[in-house]
């Protein structure tokens, strides 16, 4: 940057003529929205024309108070932290290890593995979200396999039961045993379980036993459904798995590119001195890449906090908002039903503050433990 004292005359004009357009665009598309977001977050703006319409004014920190008192915010924050933790302590180490394995050619066809691990990154996020949503759906492939397994088990037990009574010999005892096998939930489907089920079974008299057994399986085998998605403590597991699957390849490429910059003679010297692969990784590669690791961690943290599209496509924050993250929570407040822009802006600013804190912590960790990148 030129010396401030020298910014006059022709040089000053030339300087400003080059800086001003970009600076103006920055003000318009970056600085103005940020300032507007801060202003809106402490306002009572309730929609309609923002400038020159119905007046709106300062409302204090009401929106922030509402954010922090909303259990949905804490649930979304918790989910975001799961993603941050997974990114920093899952994607980065895995990406690093894969990169090291490929870089040191510890596997055959390293180029192939590099490609395979990176492929999820080049697929559209929406496509990935919909793909995994289908995989986990009640009509998807996992459900089909689980249903087939459950059905096969129930069917063999039914066949054994009918064999033990010598075929189609229906009495209350047999019916009760079938109901026991079906479990307590099935009892709710009948007003009077034993006589009603007995009547149903007797209606198959004359039909092949296999038909009756097949229909009893239809009736009693519970269909697999990703109900675990509804449990707040484990609902995020499938989402986290997909995030790990999708983004690890990106860090692999980042680490691999930087490993390739390391002087191979240093590694060879370490190996000649008797260092194992693990020691080479620990004492040569890792310190040399500490800067890259920090930058990757910053990328991972900011990416995790701002992630939206994958989870929006995969679960939409559901079921019952248990997989909601901060960005979806903000989106829902901004656009779902009656928009609440002050609240949505307050959420976005809380996200920014959290990002700064986490990035600051990462920087501190690097200062404390990091090596110097060559």
């Amino acid at each position: 940057m030129p010396n401030r004292n020298r910014l006059h005359g022709e040089e000053g004009r030339a300087y400003w003529s080059m800086v001003l357009p970009a600076f103006s665009i920055y003000l318009l598309v970056m600085a103005f929205p940020i300032v507007l977001s801060i202003v809106l977050s402490v306002s009572n703006y309730s929609g309609g024309k923002m400038f020159g319409g119905e007046p709106w004014g300062f409302a204090g920190l009401k929106s922030y108070a509402r954010v922090f008192s909303d259990p949905l915010f804490w649930n979304a924050l918790k989910n975001n932290f799961y993603i941050v933790l997974l990114s920093v302590f899952g994607q980065l180490p895995l990406g690093f290890i894969f990169a090291y394995i490929i870089y040191r050619r510890l596997v055959k066809w390293p180029g192939f593995w590099q490609g395979v691990l990176y492929v999820p990154n080049i697929i559209s996020v929406i496509v990935v979200g919909l793909l995994w949503q289908t995989i986990f759906s009640p009509n998807g492939p996992i459900a089909e396999v689980m249903n087939d397994l459950a059905r096969a088990g129930f069917q063999s037990r039914l066949e054994a039961l009918f064999a033990s009574v010598g075929g189609f010999n229906v009495d209350d005892g047999l019916v009760s045993k079938i109901l026991d096998m079906a479990g307590p939930a099935a009892l709710d489907w009948f007003s009077d379980p034993v006589p009603e089920l007995k009547e149903l079974i007797l209606s198959y008299e004359g039909a092949p036993l296999s038909e009756l057994i097949g229909d009893l399986c239809n009736l009693f085998v519970p269909r697999w459904s990703p109900e675990f998605l509804s449990k707040p403590n484990i609902a995020m597991l499938p989402v986290l798995f997909v995030i790990l699957w999708m983004y690890t390849g990106m860090y692999l490429i980042l680490f691999l590119a930087n490993m390739q910059k390391i002087d191979s003679q240093v590694i060879e010297a370490a190996r000649i001195d008797g260092a194992s692969e693990g020691q080479v990784m620990r004492y040569v590669i890792l310190p040399a890449l500490s800067g890259t690791i920090v930058n990757s961690a910053i990328l991972a943290i900011s990416g995790s906090l701002s992630s939206f599209s994958l989870i929006f496509a995969m679960t939409g924050g559901g079921p019952s908002r248990v997989t909601e993250i901060l960005s979806i929570y903000m989106y829902n407040n901004a656009f779902l039903g009656r928009p609440n822009l002050p609240l949505a802006n307050a959420i976005s600013l809380v996200m920014v503050v959290i990002s700064f804190i986490l990035i600051g912590l990462t920087k501190m960790a690097e200062k404390r433990y990091g090596g110097k990148e060559e």
């Binding site: 009948f190 019952s320 656009f335 779902l336």
Partner: protein, 433 residues
């Protein structure tokens, strides 16, 4: 003579100049999706207007679902509302109504024009702002049971009249791999809009919801909890499957048509999904089968219901004109002409024909397929209606109900818990007002 010719020419030039109309450009926001039934007809509707009105240029922006609402919201914030736009009568378009961003169509269209529409459509009380910001194209029944009568008959059942009838079907139909009823609820709103509103209407009634809004009753009171328990029992008794909570709204119509369920619960608008698609010539349910094998019914009588047979219904969507158009301006006149065209007998007949809705315009005749023809019959047979919850409660409250109904479906929350959460959300919303 020369003077006379010159005078005639002068008058002719003046006349032509006087009559030549200035070309007006209208910005329009249309709500449409290219893969929806009725899309080609919609495109033609706009093309026909353009061809018949060369003095008006239409700049049409077409969006669907949330992106539409977001863009409209952004236009409202920027103070650049489109001249003509599509709008909801309730909370979904709250800003339009509350900030009076649309003209009062009562004044713009006039009583003589509006007399051709049903009273429910022209009643300002049916709109959030208390004035006629839009003209509902339909009055929608949000809770209809589409019943596959042939499937039921094949298994020895008649269409259900009571809850007990429904429950009685469970073992036999389940044994045949058929769900008794299907209501996909992954998108959270269908259960509330397409069934729970009717159940609340039956068990508690509109008076009860009015009392809640007036602070004289609570969501934790017995009638509302009882309504939630009905939904809880539907899952517990096996009438609805818990997998329905994981099924998206768009997936279920095809599943019902292929015989995976004997009954499908949705709004009256869904009839359009089953009729013949004009572009492909294919129908999910053939017109012949629509006629003899399918029926539209209200949800059966529920034990303990207070208001027998009521069905949730609400004023439907429609068109609005921006309040920013100067009164008496050429733009306002052009917008009025467009609105009158959109609500004309011909256009409404096309909409009716595609199964989009049954028009509020009186006397619209169309050659509709049997299932769509059954919709007005359903209206006539079920005149008693009740509130649709998302039409009367604020999103801050009804979104909690929507999520709670999913939790009930999954079996992770009880009716009492959801009622308590709803009451808490209501109190929080009231405090924020």
């Amino acid at each position: 003579m020369k003077r006379m010719i010159a005078a005639i020419l002068l008058i002719a030039v003046a006349a032509v100049g006087g009559f030549a109309q200035e070309k007006v450009t209208l910005t329009v926001m249309n709500y449409q999706q290219a893969d929806q039934a009725g899309y080609p007809e919609d495109v033609k509707i706009w093309q026909d207007f353009q061809a018949a009105n060369p003095d008006i240029t239409l700049n049409i922006e077409v969006l669907f679902n949330d992106p539409y609402h977001q863009k409209l919201q952004a236009y409202a914030a920027a103070g650049t509302m489109p001249d003509v736009f599509y709008v909801w009568p309730g909370a979904r378009s709250a800003v339009i109504h509350e900030k009076k961003l649309a003209k009062d169509l009562n004044q713009l269209l006039g009583a003589a024009y509006l007399k051709d529409f049903s009273a429910s459509a022209t009643n300002p009380a049916n709109q959030l702002g208390g004035y006629m910001a839009m003209l509902p194209q339909s009055f929608t029944y949000t809770s209809v049971m589409y019943v596959n009568t042939k499937l039921l008959a094949d298994n020895g059942f008649k269409p259900p009249k009571t809850y007990a009838d429904l429950k009685k079907m469970v073992p036999k139909l389940k044994a045949k791999g058929i769900a008794v009823a299907m209501l996909p609820n992954k998108d959270a709103w269908p259960m509330q809009s397409c069934l729970f509103s009717t159940v609340v209407g039956r068990m508690a009634g509109d008076d009860f919801l009015d009392a809640i809004l007036a602070g004289k009753a609570k969501f934790t009171d017995k009638p509302f909890v009882a309504a939630l328990e009905v939904i809880q029992n539907l899952y517990k008794d096996g009438i609805l499957s818990r997998e329905d909570v994981q099924i998206g709204y768009g997936e279920a119509a095809g599943m019902f048509a292929s015989g995976k369920a004997a009954i499908y619960i949705d709004g009256d608008w869904r009839a359009g999904a089953y009729i013949t698609d004009k572009a492909s010539g294919k129908a999910l349910i053939s017109p012949a089968a629509q006629d003899k094998d399918f029926a539209l019914m209200p949800f059966p009588a529920i034990p303990g219901e207070k208001n027998r047979g009521v069905v949730s219904a609400v004023a439907g969507t429609g068109w609005a004109v921006s309040a920013s158009l100067p009164a008496g301006s050429a733009k306002e006149k052009a917008a009025t002409r467009l609105i009158q065209y959109l609500y004309s007998n011909d256009v409404q007949a096309i909409r009716f024909n595609t199964g989009a809705y049954v028009p509020t315009r009186k006397g619209v005749k169309a050659d509709v397929e049997p299932l769509v023809a059954k919709v007005p019959v359903f209206y006539a047979e079920n005149p008693a209606t009740c509130y649709v919850i998302d039409g009367v409660l604020d999103p801050a409250v009804y979104n909690v109900i929507n999520d709670g109904l999913i939790a009930i479906g999954l079996g992770t929350k009880t009716a009492a818990q959801v009622a308590a959460e709803t009451q808490a959300a209501f109190e929080s919303w009231k405090a924020s007002k």
